[in-house]
């Protein structure tokens, strides 16, 4: 029973991180109709930025903020300089481009930060919480993970629903021509979308890294898991991304605990294929049907 509970709780925490990552993919998909396969290495680079700040003797939180800000800048920069030319072109070009960025960021990080495992601090205790005499696999950092992803999701929803900028971003994503005619600076909105997504991705990177080891490829498996989570929720829906992330996190944790950790990626593939075959629009599709 305790093992069952602990597996579920581990999955829940992990699922929240996948959710954050899926959220980042959804933001970019909504603004530019591109799946950003370079999201994971982007987050990896910003996590290393945090590590550099912390290693220089500053506090964890300064590193945290530095990572989020550098994520914001990196996202905006990449959209402006690299992605802009292929927006609206054949989708295969955008896919190849983001994969190219994947390779570049990876190699760059290995050259600049070194290709070795380094431990990354966590701001809260790593010891599990004790409930009624038994310790459960949920620690301070796990709670921080869950809360921060929920807060970010809430902020994003509020941004899109209640603010003027959010309205413009939605308009640009919905129909660029019409938005442009209505006086929306579409280009700026797309850049903002990428910047925000990159910030959320950075958060996911920090949450995975906390109390663990980081190295240039520590986020690689998350590329796949985040994508599966996003598709599970329907690439268009922020809420779907979060629910998709949770479902995936818990499922994979059980596969790892009860079947074999080697088959985690295979389980993700199976889940992905089931969704694409049975419910191509994802669990939260807004449109009735979607071309996948």
């Amino acid at each position: 029973m305790q093992q069952f509970l602990n597996t579920a709780l581990t999955g829940l925490t992990l699922g929240m991180v996948y959710a954050a990552f899926a959220l980042a993919l959804v933001l970019i998909w909504r603004s530019t109709r591109i799946v950003n396969f370079a999201q994971a290495p982007m987050a990896m680079v910003t996590t290393f930025v945090a590590l550099v700040v912390i290693d220089a003797g500053h506090s964890y939180w300064l590193g945290f903020v530095a990572a989020l800000l550098s994520g914001l800048v990196l996202g905006a920069f990449l959209e402006r300089v690299v992605i802009r030319p292929v927006e609206g072109k054949a989708e295969i070009n955008a896919v190849i481009l983001t994969l190219g960025l994947f390779i570049v960021l990876h190699a760059l990080a290995a050259v600049v930060f070194g290709n070795r495992y380094r431990s990354f601090p966590a701001p809260f205790g790593l010891e599990g919480i004790t409930v009624g005499g038994t310790t459960i696999a949920l620690n301070g950092f796990g709670i921080f993970t869950i809360v921060s992803v929920l807060v970010v999701m809430g902020l994003l929803v509020a941004l899109f629903r209640f603010t003027d900028v959010g309205l413009r971003m939605r308009a640009s994503a919905f129909n660029q021509e019409v938005a442009r005619l209505l006086g929306v600076k579409v280009g700026a909105m797309l850049t903002l979308g990428w910047a925000l997504a990159s910030l959320v991705g950075s958060l996911a990177g920090l949450l995975i890294a906390g109390g663990g080891l980081v190295h240039p490829s520590y986020m690689d498996s998350v590329v796949v898991f985040g994508f599966v989570a996003a598709v599970l929720g329907g690439l268009d829906s922020p809420l779907g991304a979060v629910v998709g992330g949770l479902i995936l996190g818990v499922s994979l944790s059980f596969v790892s605990g009860y079947v074999g950790s080697q088959l985690v990626a295979l389980a993700a593939l199976v889940i992905l294929m089931l969704v694409l075959t049975l419910k191509p629009g994802g669990l939260f599709a807004q449109a009735a049907e979607r071309r996948v």
Binding site: V95, I103, V104, N115, S221, F227, V231, L272, M273
Partner: protein
């Protein structure tokens, strides 16, 4: 008309065979003149080239992007390893390659059926998941597939008649490394002739038609699903052959060989060379094989540590990949050919407009010589449309 087409087709086949023969002569000359170490490198180049050749057909001619070809190579490699467990196995290598191809073809058909429904980022994501998932299977079924240590591949002794024949032709004894390089390059030549013929024939026309305009292709009576699945199968078969050659070269089939990096590397190879071009695939494979040591040397000379310098090679591929997509989507071969065509056109009619070099989908097939494709597709349209609308 029909007679003319068929004679043309004969002509194509003859040309491909002639090219293959020429290629063979070059291969023999080179392999005989270089060291064992270079032979091993050339064998590596051959398996990368075979896999990239298959991928370039899928992506360049049919417009499907696969990040899962590393996983398909794994299937070819593990099949070979299972067939060559020890010295006693008497299977000739050609049979091993064939079985590896058939098994991978079957898996490719299954993957292709699922993939045919997907496009763009969905296809990329799903094949990405495939690439990451397959190595785990080898870890899980440790008893049969050897786990992390993988399966050893024991190369059979070189047949005596081969030794004799090679000695007769070259006057040199055949070393094991050189033998493997021969097997690799012969396989490459066979695969490339088959791919070139398929691409030039009716099948290739259908693939391109589906790539260029699905609606038009469907109206023309082409079964979209079937065209996509067949392209995937052909491409998978090439990956299977490449996997077998990898197993012969590395003498090991282990999960660590088939990482995400391998799949991305293959994609880099075909993008660098130019999508849809077999020559491009070969150039890409050559760059992947020989560039690292050059770049690493430059890096260490510039004061980087060995480990940092080793990361420069992927950095260069990645940057070139990004640059190619942004600046010259036709890749190296396509751009050169485009420049050549433009120069020729200018000479002929100095005032006429240049053929567009960029802006169309992605393949060199459409970018540099639009006439060939459009007329071919148009030529088949009237004959098949009636059938298409009737069904």
């Amino acid at each position: 008309m029909r007679a003319r087409i068929s004679s043309l087709r004969d002509h194509v086949l003859a040309r491909h065979l002639a090219a293959a023969l020429l290629g063979l002569v070059v291969v023999v000359m080179v392999l005989e003149s270089v060291s064992d170490y270079r032979n091993t490198q050339l064998a590596s180049m051959a398996y990368l080239g075979i896999a990239a050749g298959g991928l370039t057909v899928l992506t360049g001619l049919n417009g499907q992007l696969s990040l899962g070809h590393g996983a398909l190579m794994a299937i070819g490699a593990y099949t070979s390893a299972l067939l060559l467990p020890d010295n006693e196995s008497s299977l000739p290598l050609s049979v091993v390659v064939l079985v590896a191809v058939v098994v991978t073809l079957a898996v490719g058909a299954a993957v292709g059926l699922a993939a045919a429904r997907l496009h763009g980022p969905y296809l990329a994501g799903a094949t990405l998941a495939l690439a990451v998932a397959v190595p785990g299977i080898a870890l899980y079924f440790k008893e049969t597939l050897g786990g992390e240590q993988g399966l050893r591949v024991v190369m059979p002794d070189i047949p005596v008649w081969v030794l004799d024949a090679v000695f007769f032709v070259t006057g040199q004894d055949l070393t094991r490394s050189r033998f493997t390089a021969y097997v690799a390059w012969l396989t490459l030549i066979v695969v490339f002739v088959l791919l070139a013929n398929l691409g030039a024939g009716r099948t290739g026309r259908r693939w391109r038609a589906v790539r260029d305009d699905e609606v038009a292709a469907e109206l023309a009576g082409i079964d979209l699903g079937r065209a996509r699945v067949s392209a995937f199968m052909v491409s998978a078969a090439a990956a299977g052959a490449a996997g077998a050659i990898l197993a012969f070269t590395v003498k090991l089939a282990a999960p660590s060989a088939f990482t995400l990096t391998l799949s991305l590397t293959l994609l880099a190879a075909i993008v660098l060379g130019g999508l849809g071009s077999l020559a491009g695939a070969l150039i890409g494979a050559a760059l992947l094989t020989f560039l690292p040591s050059v770049v690493t040397d430059i890096g260490t000379d510039a004061g980087l540590s060995d480990i940092q310098a080793a990361e420069l090679a992927p950095l260069v591929y990645g940057l070139v990949m990004v640059a190619v997509i942004l600046l010259a989507p036709a890749g190296i071969v396509g751009s050169l050919r485009g420049a050549l065509l433009r120069a020729r056109a200018r000479r002929r009619t100095p005032a006429s407009a240049e053929p567009p070099a960029t802006g169309t989908t992605s393949g060199t097939g459409t970018t540099t010589d639009p006439h060939a494709d459009t007329t071919e597709t148009a030529g088949t349209t009237p004959a098949t449309t009636s059938k298409g609308t009737a069904s």
